[in-house]
């Protein structure tokens, strides 16, 4: 009897384990059944703004959409920039990919697309011209690969030096037109008592990549860049890269010790507080500076570099947009259209201030002169350069960005960093 009891007991234990393991599957099935029964469609929505003001904005939009579509339940999840890049890469590798999610353009988008789990939007765009015609055609490019569009651009952006007009006037500094003038201006400001006339939060490696991307675009021959930015042909042997990294070294010498220990937000707060006269920022940040700063500020594009082989007037910046999972429901498609509608865009401009790719989304009423000036710069840029960390393979970008930190702390020379880069690039061939 005892033996039987033990046998029964262990069988029971085993089955418990197996049931526990299999539970998830069962759950899924039963919940999908109840979905059919009650006709509730769940949309998983993943974005990268757990910070204000955008978190509230999207929470609000989700509520609005749910109110208009009673059969839809939207699950929202969000993590910050660098974590988002990592998390979405993990999610795209299995079927847990959210239905609607945000993506940068160019190589970041291309990587996601290569998973084969992203929805082809060509038909959806062609079918609903009324909605898709509202999006600036020029911004689709970063999401289109081999003639197939996989994303709908929403925000547009550009990077420029924001400067404190008051400090510039007090010290008789004119807006620098060339890189040499820029360095002279920084020297003047440093002599005037600004210990760090330029600053950046170098713990955010993307901030470094923005600098390097622009510098390389200015200095290096565009045909060389085009070849190097492709993973299979990248070599990074051009002398322009050393020159570019030397420029970076020179710029970091104005940033002080603190820069490698703070993030971009801290740097922005220093600019807003008037401690730092110049900061390289995105137009997306205009509203945050406007809200905080007690002084007038303007912006100028990265100055021309003498002897540079690239387009000296080009603007660095790329759109960000929304993508759909291949398995997304028709309701999720509706939600995407809702997120990129003219009404959403106008409200978005009002609350967030970042410029967007929706026609009529930015008007004199819902924006401000500063943002309109920025919008004009974006629309009229002679050329746009994508964000460097999205333009090149991440293995190469990571070496550049960490190397950028090493140059700032004085651990490595530009030549040493470039050597590491060349090795990393070779491995991708």
């Amino acid at each position: 009897m005892k033996k039987w009891f033990v046998l029964l007991f262990s069988v029971a234990m085993l089955s418990l384990v197996l049931v526990a393991c299999g539970n998830k599957e069962d759950d899924k099935e039963s919940s999908s059944k109840s979905k059919d029964g009650e006709d509730v469609v769940e949309i998983n929505f993943f974005h990268r703004w757990p910070n204000e003001p955008r978190k509230s904005f999207y929470d609000e939009k989700v509520k609005e959409f749910e109110a208009a579509h009673p059969n839809v339940k939207i699950n929202v999840d969000s993590v910050l920039n660098d974590s988002y890049k990592e998390k979405i890469r993990v999610l795209v590798s299995n079927d847990a990919l959210p239905d609607v999610f945000t993506s940068w353009s160019d190589s970041f988008a291309e990587n996601l697309v290569s998973s084969g789990r992203i929805m082809d939007l060509n038909n959806i765009i062609a079918e609903d011209k009324e909605w898709s015609g509202n999006v600036l055609e020029s911004q689709y490019g970063g999401f289109t690969f081999d003639g197939v569009t996989y994303g709908v651009p929403f925000t547009v952006d550009g990077k420029a030096f924001f400067y404190n007009k008051q400090i510039f006037e007090e010290n008789n500094v004119a807006i620098p037109q060339t890189y040499d003038e820029f360095i002279k201006a920084l020297d003047t400001l440093q002599k005037a008592g600004y210990e760090t006339p330029l600053v950046e939060g170098l713990t955010n490696t993307w901030a470094i990549s923005h600098y390097l991307g622009t510098i390389f675009q200015r200095v290096v021959d565009p045909t060389v860049l085009e070849k190097d930015y492709v993973a299979t042909t990248g070599e990074f042997t051009d002398a322009g890269y050393v020159k570019g990294l030397e420029m970076w070294k020179q710029l970091t010498s104005y940033m002080g010790d603190v820069s490698t220990a703070i993030d971009h937000e801290a740097a922005r707060n220093m600019f807003i507080a008037g401690e730092v006269p110049v900061l390289y920022m995105q137009f997306a940040e205009v509203k945050m500076v406007l809200d905080g700063a007690k002084f007038d500020f303007g912006f100028f594009n990265f100055p021309e570099v003498a002897g540079g082989k690239g387009d000296q007037k080009a603007l660095t910046g790329a759109p960000e947009g929304w993508m759909l999972s291949k398995n997304a429901s028709p309701e999720a498609v509706e939600f995407l259209k809702f997120l990129t509608s003219a009404e959403t865009a106008q409200e978005f401009t009002k609350t967030d201030g970042q410029l967007n790719a929706i026609k009529g989304g930015i008007t004199a009423e819902n924006s401000n002169p500063t943002s309109l000036e920025a919008y004009d710069i974006i629309l009229n840029a002679s050329a746009t350069a994508p964000w460097f960390d999205n333009a090149v393979d991440i293995s190469v970008a990571d070496v550049f960005m960490r190397g950028g930190q090493d140059i700032a702390t004085g651990v490595k020379t530009p030549e040493e960093v470039l050597e590491d880069v060349q090795q990393a690039a070779k491995k991708l061939h």
């Binding site: 046998l7 234990m13 384990v17 490698t260 220990a261 960490r402 190397g403 702390t409």
Partner: protein, 294 residues
């Protein structure tokens, strides 16, 4: 009959846990080893066999060397701080003089263990903050401002700042293990030593240390393997930066796999981590001869 019963029943009782271990520990372990011979990405599941290339790559990878050195620093400092100081701390807490306060002090020392590592890392990033951090402000207050620096932003200090946080968090746990061991030491030993005229320090070296030897080896094992596997602390505080100065093996592995999308090579680094912790564990178990005393 009786022989049969003895053989089947224990096995049946072990089966659930073996099944769990197999599915969640051993199968992934072998799969990881298998994966390290292939080139593949999370985006596309096609695997390309590359043989031992990834292991050769390990020897050329400068980051692996830096990470390994950092892990060793982590282990050495952790053993000295956690095992040695925790033992001293435990002996002091168990001293008769502190009887009244010991329970309260034990809670205080154990508190950091119960706080989530993300919260602690956030807290310490404020302490180390170069502009308004507690540490630099304190140094200025006591007139040592020449030592104030951006702790996490300096390639020379970043890894030590990370290690320091880890010591603060973990010392309470090791202390607790030692306290339990000290409480199990028979009182007769101390009484006999007192009759022989031994002072507190003599008693500590001659009775406490030999009696907690077993626990000490276990604690060394915990801290050393923990140091080799360390991930959260450097990942949250510095993400391995500036540059790669505070990189740890696990952080490097994670970034290779999930950031640079080089799953095969990341598996090779994971294999290295496994081998290292296994070797350390085996050496320590052999050297300490755990279990032989009984």
């Amino acid at each position: 009959m009786s022989i049969k019963r003895i053989k089947i029943v224990p096995i049946l009782l072990l089966l659930p846990s073996l099944l769990f271990l197999g599915i969640f520990v051993y199968i992934p372990l072998f799969q990881n080893f298998y994966n390290s011979f292939f080139n593949f990405s999370v985006f596309s599941q096609t695997k390309e066999f590359v043989g031992l290339t990834h292991f050769k790559e390990l020897f050329d990878d400068k980051v692996v060397v830096i990470a390994l050195i950092n892990n060793i620093k982590y282990a050495v400092i952790s053993v000295v701080c956690q095992v040695f100081f925790a033992l001293v701390l435990a002996a002091i807490l168990e001293d008769r003089l502190l009887r009244k306060f010991a329970p309260a002090l034990r809670v205080i020392y154990f508190m950091p263990v119960m706080i989530s590592i993300s919260v602690i890392a956030l807290l310490f990033s404020f302490i180390y903050n170069p502009q308004m951090g507690l540490l630099n402000s304190f140094l200025e207050l006591v007139g040592l401002e020449q030592f104030a620096k951006p702790w996490l932003g300096n390639a020379g200090t970043a890894i030590y700042a990370v290690i320091a946080m880890s010591q603060w968090q973990s010392i309470g746990f090791i202390t607790m293990l030692f306290i339990v061991a000290i409480q199990k030491i028979p009182h007769e030993l101390y009484e006999a030593a007192e009759i022989d005229g031994a002072g507190k320090i003599r008693k500590f070296f001659s009775i406490t240390i030999p009696q907690v030897k077993e626990t000490m080896f276990v604690n060394v094992l915990i801290t050393v393997t923990g140091s080799i596997l360390v991930f959260n602390e450097p990942y949250i505080l510095t993400n391995g930066g500036p540059g790669v100065s505070s990189m740890a093996l696990a952080v490097h592995m994670y970034q290779l796999g999930f950031l640079k999308d080089n799953m095969g090579y990341a598996s090779a680094v994971a294999t290295l981590i496994f081998l290292l912790s296994a070797i350390f564990a085996i050496v320590q178990i052999r050297v300490s001869g755990t279990g032989k005393d009984d």
